[in-house]
């Protein structure tokens, strides 16, 4: 019994560690004191200044554009690629598969500087395009793996059955395979989206003058001093993410229940 209490205390402590900085940010976003030292009084002032901060809002929109675009493209390419790798053999396939793991294991900074070097070599303008391209570069492997795990579990006889029925490669993919891949695609896309929103290191090297993203903006804001607007912004982002996840989970739970009822 005593042992169990100790175990639970340990678990609670770990969660406290995980949630402490987040709770602090939310609480201090309502603090009248600029200094973030002690809580002096309740205010919504920082939310007001936040919404009149044009460059911060612009960075926010850039972040969303980069995340949505790169998620979309890397999900499409990732899904097709996972299928291609699972279904077909081609020259150098083993080598290509090895390359795909590189963005996952190497330190982000190495990927960041090597992409930057290539953009410079090719004389590309650093901007939204290079930023989106870089995000695609590190997201695709994650999508491929999450789709591939499902493909690996599919019954290989499906292909033959479909072929016997006279379906070509495209038909088989569209009508037989694609529907069953939806969970893998969704989780791959979610992963790509969060990776893109969270990325600091690669964006740091590959963004240009007109493509400030939120993490970069926050980085420079934190470096240039005490900015309670950052607390307010963080709180909003937290609330939005948590709401989306909550809705998502609720929806999943409901559909699970429905299945059980049936």
């Amino acid at each position: 019994m005593k042992k169990r209490i100790l175990k639970n205390i340990f678990i609670i402590l770990v969660y406290a560690f995980l949630y402490l900085p987040i709770i602090i940010l939310v609480v201090f976003s309502f603090n009248t004191s600029k200094m973030n030292i002690t809580f002096e009084g309740f205010t919504l002032k920082w939310y007001q200044t936040l919404f009149s901060n044009r460059s911060l809002l612009e960075a926010f929109f850039n972040t969303i554009i980069v995340a949505v675009t790169s998620t979309f493209i890397s999900t499409v390419i990732g899904t097709i690629s996972a299928y291609a790798l699972n279904r077909y053999n081609f020259k150098g396939k083993g080598f290509i598969m090895k390359l795909l793991y590189i963005p996952i294991v190497i330190p982000e900074i190495v990927l960041g500087i090597s992409l930057l070097s290539v953009y410079t070599l090719l004389k590309l303008d650093l901007g939204m395009m290079t930023l989106i391209l870089s995000h695609i570069a590190f997201s695709i492997p994650f999508v491929i793996i999450s789709v591939k795990t499902i493909l690996d579990d599919l019954n290989p006889n499906l292909y033959d059955a479909s072929k016997d029925l006279g379906a070509g490669g495209l038909e088989t993919f569209r009508h037989i395979i694609l529907p069953s891949l939806i969970p893998g695609i969704t989780s791959g896309a979610m992963l790509a989206f969060t990776l893109s929103l969270d990325d600091v290191v690669i964006s740091y090297f590959t963004a240009g003058p007109s493509s400030n993203t939120l993490p970069l903006k926050i980085y420079s804001m934190i470096k240039t001093g005490i900015t309670p607007e950052v607390n307010a912004l963080s709180t909003i982002i937290l609330v939005v993410t948590f709401t989306i996840i909550l809705l998502f989970t609720l929806k999943q739970m409901r559909s699970l229940k429905k299945e059980v009822v049936r």
Partner: protein, 283 residues
Amino acid sequence: MKDKLFKKIITIPVIVYALVLILLPLIYIFILSFLKSDSYGGVINVFNLGNYLKIFDMVYIKVFVQSFLIALVTTLICILIAYPFCLFISQKKKKTQTLLMALVILPFLTNSLIRTYGWIVLLRKEGVINTILLNLNIIDNPLSLMYNNLGIIIGMVYTLLPFMILPLYSSISKIDNRLIEASKDLGAGSMATFFKVIVPSTVTGLFNGSLMVFIPCIGYFFIADLLGGGKLMLLGNLIKNQFLTARNWPFGAAISITLLIITFVLVKLYKKTGGKMDDLGGF
């Protein structure tokens, strides 16, 4: 015939992607690492090994050692927190387990910089932790919690902990409970069961987690910048400086290639312990 065309169309994207966005950049910095930089930022096309020899300068060896020590300590602390945590969680009911694991991931869906900023607010000399401890008379003088190595390690452990928890949890939850019971039936104590049954079957998970903590730790320059006060130079900071302030791209490229080789060696070791590549990256 149509089938062949379809095959071509769907295999081309992955080949183009892998060659252009992965292989080309790496080959380019590999070449860059053997070139020379002129004193103000340009690159001279002369083959030389100078950049690699420069790494063996005491100044830079120190940076390597510091980074690896920080990464090692971070990894060990992550194991010490994550191992018992996953073990205790795996003893709960299945439903509770899912919920608890979701709660682990939740904070990490917000930007890592924002969370690092939260730590600044907590760890400062007149930050939340010191203020509370001072008011409770637990300490007389504020503790130095940031602008030193402690701050960097706290930030790293915090940012990377889930990458240890996820693979560890998945390998711990796969252990067959009957094995543990069998071991107990055979008279093994809980310590013996732990070291002879549980630990061996989680080696891959442990290695996977360590890899996913150790490697990023070397590159997270922003945590060293924000929580370390710019006093400790990690490899990430060194590479960043070579590219963004010291204008010596070839040297920066040589450090990156060295780091890449170290990464590949670690991954090879991981595969030797029976780890699968698909399990890396938090899957």
